[in-house]
């Protein structure tokens, strides 16, 4: 059992940057994700977040995803969420939030949707 969040090194896929997220996304770690994405967003790049290895998603974690969507929309960019883990899927379904998140079954689908 780990309390940590692991974020992969950004992979520039031409048209979008890919980040793979692993571990717990909760009140302690959600700010770390927001900070890391902000650094990429500052360069004007779109982002795909692969959430397949997120083992726990707290309300702060789902809140962070919603914040990212709004921030990218404001700046004319896009963020997409790929390969949701069961823990992420459960929260998204419970709160009926899939209508606000750009969700793709696979990383490839998400990258393709952004023209990468």
């Amino acid at each position: 059992m780990t309390n940590e969040l692991e974020i992969s090194k950004p992979e520039d896929r031409g048209g979008a940057v890919l980040l793979r997220i692993k571990g717990r996304l909760d009140v302690k770690t959600a700010p770390i994700l927001l900070q890391r994405v902000a650094e990429i967003q500052a360069n004007g790049q779109n982002i795909v977040l692969n959430l397949s290895e997120v083992s726990f998603m707290g309300s702060s974690g789902i809140g962070a995803l919603l914040v990212l969507v709004e921030q990218f929309q404001e700046q004319g960019g896009s963020v997409r969420f790929a390969s949701l883990s069961p823990a992420v899927t459960s929260v998204v379904k419970l709160l009926n939030l899939d209508r606000f998140l750009n969700i793709d079954l696979t990383e490839s689908d998400a990258l393709a949707a952004l023209g990468a």
Partner: protein, 180 residues
């Protein structure tokens, strides 16, 4: 737009204290330091205590999450993440025979911090972009959508007591609604 949480009547104070006393006699418990890191232990405790028996992975995830959110509120707002303080979580399965494979029952959270309410009656309006941009304050929605009833009794003779009624059929019904 605000939406009222459909809910079962929550336990009143006398019954809550009586049930909590029963939980202390016959239930399973875990004591957690008032740190966010410590809350990762809830899942293992749920498994050990039998509360996850017969549950789907999704339902187990939601139960773990709802209890995490209740405890995190106390850790953050009640105790200010003071590791010297602690909170107790208790599980008391229902004595009534189960209709399904997974047990129903009650969870009790006891803390001694300043009162913090977890039983508000309105849920978040996610259609409001400002709400989504705020990105926080969604924990109570998770708690109320997962649990059948939530009652908060502050400053009782036993401390602050939060009673959470758990019936896995509520999660099953939610899944069916989502797929309808």
């Amino acid at each position: 737009m605000t939406v009222n949480h459909p809910r079962r009547p929550a336990l009143g104070l006398p019954e809550a204290l009586e049930r909590f006393a029963t939980a202390r006699q016959h239930g399973k418990s875990i004591q957690l330091p008032a740190t966010l890191d410590s809350l990762a232990a809830i899942r293992e405790w749920l498994d050990r205590s039998g509360a996850l028996r017969g549950l789907s992975t999704g339902a187990a995830d939601m139960l773990d999450l709802a209890l995490y959110e209740v405890c995190a509120n106390v850790v953050e707002h009640g105790y200010g993440q003071d590791a010297a303080r602690s909170l107790e979580l208790w599980w008391l399965p229902s004595a009534v025979p189960e209709a399904g494979p997974a047990p129903r029952g009650q969870f009790f959270l006891r803390d001694q911090g300043p009162p913090f309410r977890a039983d508000r009656s309105k849920e978040t309006d996610y259609d409001d972009p400002l709400v989504r941009k705020r990105g926080c304050g969604f924990g109570l929605d998770i708690i109320h959508r997962t649990m059948s009833a939530v009652a908060y009794h502050p400053e009782t003779s036993a401390g602050n007591i939060t009673v959470l009624e758990w019936d896995p059929r509520k999660i099953d019904q939610h899944d069916e609604t989502q797929h309808a």
